[in-house]
């Protein structure tokens, strides 16, 4: 894996992202290219998982849009991500909280982690 990590160091610019893990509520500000114009949109939701390692790590976040669940997967080092805000630290026991997909309303709440 020596050469693979050399290529990743050489050609991928690492981003400074705040620390977050599954269960946290975060806002991702990312750029959308429409022809010539570039605008910024945000996506706010609960982190379901962080996946992969090193320069190609990705994370999945989920939000409820009305009654429909919407999930997006972002590569952590994607150049189109402007910044990431951590809004709430959630206290969960698992690294991958896919059970969250089946839950709505009261059972979908995640306790906040203190300190």
């Amino acid at each position: 894996m020596d050469i693979v990590s050399y290529v990743q160091d050489q050609y991928i610019t690492k981003k400074d992202v705040p620390e977050f893990s599954s269960g946290d509520t975060i806002t991702v500000y990312y750029q959308i290219r429409e022809g010539e114009k570039v605008r910024t949109q945000f996506f706010r939701g609960i982190v379901l998982q962080r996946r992969g390692a090193g320069a190609t790590e990705t994370f999945t976040i989920r939000k409820m849009s009305g009654n429909v669940g919407v999930e997006r997967i972002f590569p952590i080092n994607s150049p189109s991500i402007e910044r990431i805000e951590v809004n709430k630290k959630g206290s969960v026991r698992r690294a991958r909280i896919f059970y969250q997909r089946e839950r709505t309303g009261k059972s979908a709440r995640i306790r906040e982690r203190r300190g």
Binding site: I3, V4, V7, Y11, I12, S78
Partner: protein, 207 residues
């Protein structure tokens, strides 16, 4: 076609100028040593033989040791012939670096030995559809080939009928892979997409 011999390192992904993620295969290529130049007069056709991959002298047979000594080089693992139309003239014993042959944006063909898959059925090996039903009388034939021919005429199975068997482990060529990056410092080539073979296997990259 000019080309080089390389070694598949593995896959990763990088971003292009538009921020799009491109899946890439890393191939370590070159410097390849010219070990023989075949000419129309002597051999009846013209080509360049390149060699790649270090090995110990005790592991190489005497005929090949003599062959590499002629080119003034160390014992090599892999010898491949290419057409003699490199951009610069090549001489015996020259070593050809990756940035002399490929530039970013080129389209290349890659030849390798595909990963062995073992004994596989017709659905995986030949892309048959299988039965596609689990009811209407089917109970144990979801991935079977079905009929392999008619009865009285021809009363035999035609040669070449596609059936289950060994899959993979054969010479495979993938065409038109784009060269995403050329790294002359570490002799690396980044190709968009996958190339045949397992990690550390030899591949031939043709322009």
């Amino acid at each position: 076609m000019p080309g080089l011999i390389g070694k598949k390192i593995g896959m990763t992904s990088i971003y292009d100028a538009n921020g799009k993620m491109i899946p890439c295969t890393i191939v370590e290529t070159g410097p390849c040593v010219v070990t023989q130049i075949k000419t129309e007069d002597v051999d009846g056709y013209s080509s360049v033989q390149l060699a790649f991959g270090e090995m110990k002298e005790k592991n190489l047979g005497q005929p090949l040791i003599g062959h590499v000594k002629k080119a003034n080089t160390t014992p090599k693992r892999k010898f491949v012939e290419f057409d003699n139309d490199f951009s610069e003239a090549v001489n015996l014993g020259d070593s050809i670096a990756v940035d002399k042959v490929f530039v970013e944006g080129d389209f290349v063909d890659v030849v390798g030995t595909s990963k062995g898959k073992g004994f596989q059925g017709v659905v995986k090996r030949h892309g048959f559809g299988g039965v596609g039903q689990s009811t209407h009388g089917q109970h144990n034939r979801a991935r079977h080939p079905g009929s392999i021919g008619a009865g009285s005429t021809p009363s035999r199975v035609f040669k070449g009928m596609r059936m289950a068997g060994r899959m993979g482990g054969t010479r495979t060529k993938i065409q038109n892979l784009r060269v995403v990056k050329v790294d002359a410092a570490k002799n690396l080539l980044l190709l968009k997409g996958a190339v045949p073979g397992h990690k550390n296997s030899f591949v031939i990259i043709e322009k």
